[in-house]
Amino acid sequence: MLDRTQLTRRRFLSNFAFASGAVATGVGSWVIPAPWANAAEAPIKVGIATDLTGPIAYAGNADANVAKMVIKEINAAGGLLGRPLELYIEDTASNESVAVGNVRKLIQRDKVDMVLGGITSSMRNAIKDPIVARGKTLYIYPQLYEGKECTPYLFCTGPTPAQQCDEFIPWLIKNGGKKFALPSANYVWPHTLNVYARKVIEQNGGEVVFEEYYPLDQVDFSATVNRIVSNKVDVVFNTVIPPGVGPFFKQLYEAGFLKNGGRLACVYYDENTLNINQAAEIEGLASCLDYFKVLTKENPFDAKIQAAYEKDFPGNFLFAAGSAATGTYRGLKLWEAAVKEAGKIDRESVAAALDHAKIAEGPGGPAEMVPGKRHCKMKMYTAVAKGGNYEIVARSNGLVDPKEC
């Protein structure tokens, strides 16, 4: 008996040692070292903190892939300021407490010069303080979001409500009708986006018939569909998210909403979300984003990066706007431009240069930071789903202002 307890304790200790070893070195950390070792100076360290596991892992893995692609490209062109780039990737795991720990590793152990990442707003809010305030590091947030993020040293490179609504909603009124319904998931992004969308709808002579919020895991929408059909709504401006969105669109389709000329609109819909429903159920769905894959047909630069991405990362993780992949590309290239201009890597100098950084080519076209606003002007495209693919039906004249901060 004594023997057995000692054995157990020994086994416990060895397990414990293994576990603490794993914690110390970090499961879920990836380092892609600089390609040349005899550099005159140490490499510049780029940190990526994104959801490699968890429910939105498809987006996080795509973002990490984009970062690998961009860093490889910059290194192949001789690095930055004569120094190679080293990539540190940490998993935020769709779990804020895990994420804060892993981000601290990037800041304190790896001492990265910049962090890019976070997909959901709750993730951004959880990791921005460890990065920007306590970590004294530059932070770039790449995802489309609800706006109102005005923290110093935090730069946003995804579309804001103004960019997704200002041109899109007038198009919807012209190509759908005046009566809008705003069915929404009950969290911060739909609440804040709807405030802006309602303003634009009313300014353009439209009317919001109802705005309603649902629990995030609701999958039966019969009551909502009935309200939409019986109120003769023209445009469903949807912010319900998966898993609810698939059954919702299906129930709308089965209730004859599309047959009667109704228009679906959903501003996070990209190539990833096309597979949630059968093509007929979302025929005519309109989305407004900074990039669609169909642009590769007309824009040689988009064709080039899309081909480079698909060559390096064939598989399920798509280069798509809704998963922050385009925002990641844009963020890294703007940061590269800023570092080149600053000629140094300390936070103050890079932030000062990034404040007005520009790139002539990016996904969907050029992009530039709005000075003093830490948000990014970009081209916006309206696309409509036809037979399981998108067709571009409208595009902005020049770059659209984010109207934030």
Partner: protein
């Protein structure tokens, strides 16, 4: 009038979906005395098998027919290898089945890459009655649920297999003394419960699309249904499922959906407080 008919149909169809999901859970809970937390993942597996058939270009019907058999066989194997060791400790059984569920769920998540994938329904579109449109597939689900419910009832109440299952539940040692192989009966019951979950998954995947948390989504509702209905009989959990399903589909018609979501559970807790034995007390069919 038309509106009321559509409302009644939609509420009934969601009730039928919950009943279908709870059937297997209820049979395992009532006839074996364990709460199977992996039941949601058996539903997920049924859905995944249907998706596989679709992705491989087979007819979707084939996937739907195969799902209960494959999941049932897996249930039989899991019972023999793992679940069997937990009968003496129901609490440990909950944890064990939860772990099992977690393994299945995360494996499926890996296999489908965390995406949400559509599976078309074998009978698509809607049935149009005048200006009303009702979903053809939801209508099919209601019919199949009624059939499966009836067959399960007959199996448990009218066949010699049903008699053995009930005998094993009531008094295992006497059952063994009468020449019934109780381990085999437990295995078969568990496999049957799992097969029902597989069937439920196969039938609901066209409605909700395939995603890793599909089963988890219905697990809590399923357990509340079993508690409200009463453990011990076949008909108890089914009645509970009908009640919880119709209630959670009906309440959003009359109040804010966010409130309705919580209210279902509050009502269930209040009900269990005043009637802890559930809607239908006692053992039997």
């Amino acid at each position: 009038m038309a509106n009321a008919f559509v409302a009644a149909f939609e509420i009934l169809s969601f009730g039928a979906i919950i009943v279908l999901i709870v059937l297997g859970l209820g049979i395992i809970a009532s006839m074996m005395g364990i709460f199977n937390f992996a039941q949601g993942e058996f539903v997920l597996l049924g859905a995944y098998i249907t998706y596989l058939a679709y992705a491989k270009g087979l007819p979707i019907w084939a996937g739907m027919v195969a799902a209960p058999f494959v999941v049932g066989a897996l249930g039989f194997a899991l019972e023999a290898l793992i679940i069997r060791r937990f009968y003496a400790a129901p609490i440990v059984a909950m944890l064990g089945t939860y772990a099992l569920g977690l393994i299945i769920r995360e494996s499926v998540r890996g296999l489908i890459g965390g995406f949400y994938l559509t599976v078309p329904e074998p009978i698509g579109g809607s049935i149009d009655i005048g200006a009303m449109h009702i979903s053809a597939w939801r209508f099919t689900i209601i019919i199949i649920t009624l059939l499966v419910m009836g067959l399960c009832y007959l199996l448990l109440s009218r066949t010699s297999f049903g008699l053995r299952v009930r005998a094993t539940l009531e008094n295992p040692s006497l059952a063994r003394a009468s020449g019934i192989s109780t381990p085999l009966i437990y295995g078969a019951t568990f496999a049957f419960g799992a097969a029902l979950a597989g069937l439920a998954g196969a039938l609901i995947v066209p409605v909700f699309s395939l995603f890793a948390d599909l089963g988890l989504r219905f697990l809590i509702q399923g357990f509340v249904a079993v508690m409200v209905g009463g453990v011990g009989s076949f008909i108890g959990p089914v009645a509970g499922a009908g009640l919880i399903g119709t209630l959670s589909a009906a309440l959003p018609w009359v109040m804010a959906p966010v409130v309705a979501d919580v209210l279902v559970f509050v009502l269930a807790i209040v009900f269990i407080k005043f009637r802890p034995q559930g809607l239908i007390a006692g053992k039997g069919v």
